[in-house]
């Protein structure tokens, strides 16, 4: 079986740059790593797994470079918002979803108040996400100000 994969790789005779684990940014859309692998690398990478060249072992990674919000919030919340920008924006726009639920837990919103909290954020979407360049610290400060 081992030889087969090698032959398959040889047969396709292709190589390509492997997607690096790019630093996660603090803004919208920066959490997506674009897949630029060749077909062979995609097939092999997916078959064989774990080739991202990442041996990180730590509490927070990638979001260390993000600006700190003015409001004092937990490191966990800063990391969560920075690491889930796209999903949180989508959830707030829809007034529901897992990222929104996680945020309300982090902000200690009581279970009974969560629907109202979601509706309030949804109604204020345009205010929270006022510009395309919005970053995680702005999102936190805008939400805290509501």
């Amino acid at each position: 079986m081992k030889k087969i994969i090698a032959i398959a790789a040889l047969a396709a005779l292709s190589s390509g740059a492997f997607a690096q684990n790019a630093n996660i940014g603090c803004g919208l859309g920066t959490q997506v790593m674009a897949g630029k692998d060749s077909l062979v690398m995609q097939v092999l990478g997916a078959t064989t797994n774990g080739t991202s060249g990442n041996q990180t072992f730590g509490i927070s990674t990638g979001t260390l470079g993000c600006k700190k919000p003015v409001n004092i919030v937990s490191a966990e919340m800063q990391q969560f918002v920075a690491g889930n920008m796209d999903a949180l924006a989508q959830d707030i726009a829809q007034g529901r979803g897992e990222a929104l639920e996680t945020l309300s837990k982090l902000m200690d919103v009581a279970a009974v108040d969560r629907a109202a909290f979601g509706a309030k954020l949804q109604a204020n979407f345009a205010n929270i996400y006022a510009a395309a360049a919005v970053d995680s610290s702005t999102v936190i400060d805008k939400i805290a100000a509501l």
Binding site: A12, S15, A17, F18, M33, A34, G53, Q55
Partner: protein, 640 residues
């Protein structure tokens, strides 16, 4: 090959260990030796209680049952120079190290009591004398980690197949440590992966197969792993919550901590992610004995099945990729609505162009689809980050004015372990022009297009080493039917918004002329690319048809290899969960004039009698080829 090279590595690891023993350890232990009390009585008690032989101690050191060697190659993981091959020596060294007070003035995680926290804690619990004799240590970093993660439960995470890469069907597995009542998005992933930045496909495959890469465990926020699998690779994810208690979850965290920056040589097909995660689970539940069960650890779905049978899985959760949600949303929309989705995603907000549906719930769906579509496009590099940001924001702003929705687009398809097992055995009877033969086939892995599709990514198939023999009824002659070394089909359906390429590849030995069994064979490598469409819902995929342009290299023993070009057209109809009809037709035009043109038609009617049993009626013909008669066969497949 693996074994030979594997030994080579062990030898290298051993010589490193010697170096460690002579030069590094004396320096470290010099300080502690002074105040160290003799540990002979502790050692005697450990021997009396047979601790070194216990399953728990061996599991903590990653010794599979009955194995004389640990799976961990890094000498740093052991306190004794020969700890990798001697669990008893390691126990003795651990007792000595834990009895000595940390030799650093300020609290440091380098103290043996911190670095080997799981071993330390286990001995405290299982060696009565240890309670009064082991020294304690503060472990500031570990404390911080524990405080942040608040381990309460553990979930096994399985990213399913990748839309355009059937090979990914084997999948990946990782563990997630969750907080009490917490959201998965606040969890931390424990992942085992090979460390490499190799960009050459061939070198990557060779090195990976022969254990040239070092594998490391990593710990990172779960959303980062989600990003990798759900966004970048667009793979659905299945999460299986394990029946770990909060205490066991903490043990898992501590054991991960012990494995920080510790390497093992990574072997893609045996000592892979799945196998190494089992070692972690076994370190917490040593009575499981999963590592020594043959075959269980290699393919993730088999691993999950074994964990289920062992009573380790409490419940599962499905987390669809963007492309899965997008496909479902698309299927619920009219072509005008999908046109509006595309216009919105392209920021063509002109009222006339837009032609949004008047109903609010339809409008919501259009905007929600556009948001998913933009994320899909970004992940595919179809649009740039600069183009994505304003569009995404514009779409979400418009969406936020339309209120809530209760439609669920995340309903789970059949769970992966409801699929047939990986090994296939097939017994059949074929008849061709009045001559009959028995056929016997075996295939160790994994899934064919004609097999029961439940639990697999539709249109995706991969087979490794599918070999068959046939026994002629009249002549009592046994001959090779065919030997398919590798066969991959990736028939990914196109839709308005998602347009993947379909492709296939196969390599094997088959009769020189199709359906002619005269002991003359050829080696064939062929492949193709094209398009697949489906009718009916994309998830149940009732009718699928595809067309591929193909190329082939064939080589027989007495001829030089020759090239052919061809076409493959096929269809699959799945009228119910019990029935499947698969049709394949192909034609080949050789580029060398003296070779024969070929055509082949195969029709397969399958009755999926049970999860692991199926009956197939198949008809094969080579229309237009001189002297080749059609063949009709009936066969029974078992999966185990």
């Amino acid at each position: 090959m693996t074994t030979v090279l594997g030994r080579g590595h062990h030898r290298a690891a051993l010589s490193l260990a010697w170096w460690f023993c002579f030069f590094v350890l004396p320096i470290c232990s010099a300080g502690s030796a002074i105040g160290q009390a003799p540990t002979d009585d502790l050692w005697a008690q450990a021997q009396e209680n047979k601790l070194a032989q216990s399953a728990a101690w061996r599991a903590l050191l990653h010794f599979p049952k009955d194995s004389a060697r640990s799976l961990i190659d890094d000498p740093k993981f052991f306190l004794a120079p020969n700890g990798q091959s001697d669990a008893q020596a390691e126990l003795r060294a651990a007792i000595d190290a834990f009895s000595a007070p940390p030799n650093t003035k300020t609290p440091s995680d380098d103290a043996a009591q911190c670095r080997f926290i799981a071993r330390y804690r286990w001995l405290l619990q299982n060696l009565p004398l240890a309670k009064t004799r082991f020294a304690s240590a503060d472990c500031p970093e570990l404390q911080a980690l524990r405080a942040r993660l608040k381990p309460d439960s553990v979930t096994l995470v399985f990213p399913d197949g990748h839309l355009n890469s059937p090979a990914s069907m084997f999948g990946h597995t990782l563990l997630r440590i969750d907080q009490p009542n917490a959201q998965p998005l606040l969890g931390y992933a424990v992942n085992y992966a090979a460390l490499t930045n190799e960009s050459n496909g061939f070198a990557f495959a060779y090195n990976g197969l022969t254990g040239k890469y070092k594998g490391y465990y990593s710990l990172l926020p779960y959303p980062e792993k989600l990003r990798e699998y759900r966004f970048t690779e667009q793979r659905d994810i299945w999460e299986y919550r394990l029946t770990f208690t909060p205490q066991e979850s903490e043990r898992l965290l501590e054991h991960s901590w012990e494995l920080r920056n510790i390497f093992s040589y990574y072997y893609f097909f045996d000592k892979n992610c799945s196998y190494k995660l089992l070692a972690m689970i076994e370190a917490v539940r040593p009575q499981l004995n999963l590592l020594s069960a043959p075959g269980v650890a290699v393919i993730p779905t088999d691993t999950i099945r074994a964990l289920k049978e062992g009573g380790l899985i409490a419940q599962h959760v499905y987390r669809p990729s963007h492309v899965s949600v997008l496909n479902r949303m698309q299927a619920a929309q009219t072509s005008e609505e999908l046109q509006a989705v595309q216009n919105i995603a392209d920021l063509k907000f002109d009222k006339k162009l837009l032609s949004l549906p008047p109903e609010t719930d339809r409008k919501r769906l259009v905007y929600d689809t556009a948001a998913e579509y933009l994320q899909y496009q970004l992940s595919h590099s179809d649009i740039s980050l600069e183009a994505f940001r304003p569009r995404y924001l514009e779409v979400l702003t418009a969406r936020s004015q339309l209120g809530g929705s209760s439609v669920d687009w995340k309903q789970a398809p059949p769970e992966p372990t409801t699929s047939h097992a990986s090994h296939r055995l097939s017994l059949g009877y074929v008849s061709q022009d009045g001559a009959n033969a028995l056929t016997l086939r075996m295939r160790p892995a994994y899934h064919g297009l004609e097999d029961r599709p439940q639990g697999f990514l539709s249109g995706s198939a991969i087979s490794f080493v599918d070999a068959g023999v046939r026994v002629d009824e009249s002549k009592q002659h046994v001959r090779l039917d065919s030997l398919q070394l590798l066969q991959i089909d990736s028939l990914a359906a196109r839709s308005t918004l998602v347009r993947p390429l379909s492709w296939r590849l196969s390599l094997g030995i088959q009769p020189r002329r199709p359906l002619v069994y005269d002991d003359r064979y050829r080696a064939v490598l062929d492949g193709g690319a094209g398009t697949t469409y489906t009718l009916g819902s994309l998830n149940t995929q009732q009718l699928m048809f595809y067309g591929l342009a193909q190329a082939r290299v064939a080589s027989a023993s007495d001829k030089s290899p020759h090239l052919s070009l061809g076409m493959r057209l096929g269809a699959q109809w799945l009228p119910s969960a019990q029935w499947g009809v698969t049709l394949m037709t192909e034609a080949w035009q050789p580029l060398r004039s003296k070779e024969e043109r070929e055509a082949l038609v195969q029709l397969d009617l399958a009755w999926y009698a049970a999860t692991d049993r199926a009956l197939h009626l198949s008809i094969k013909a080579a229309p237009g080829m001189a002297g080749i008669k059609p063949e009709v066969g009936l066969r029974h497949n078992w999966f185990y």
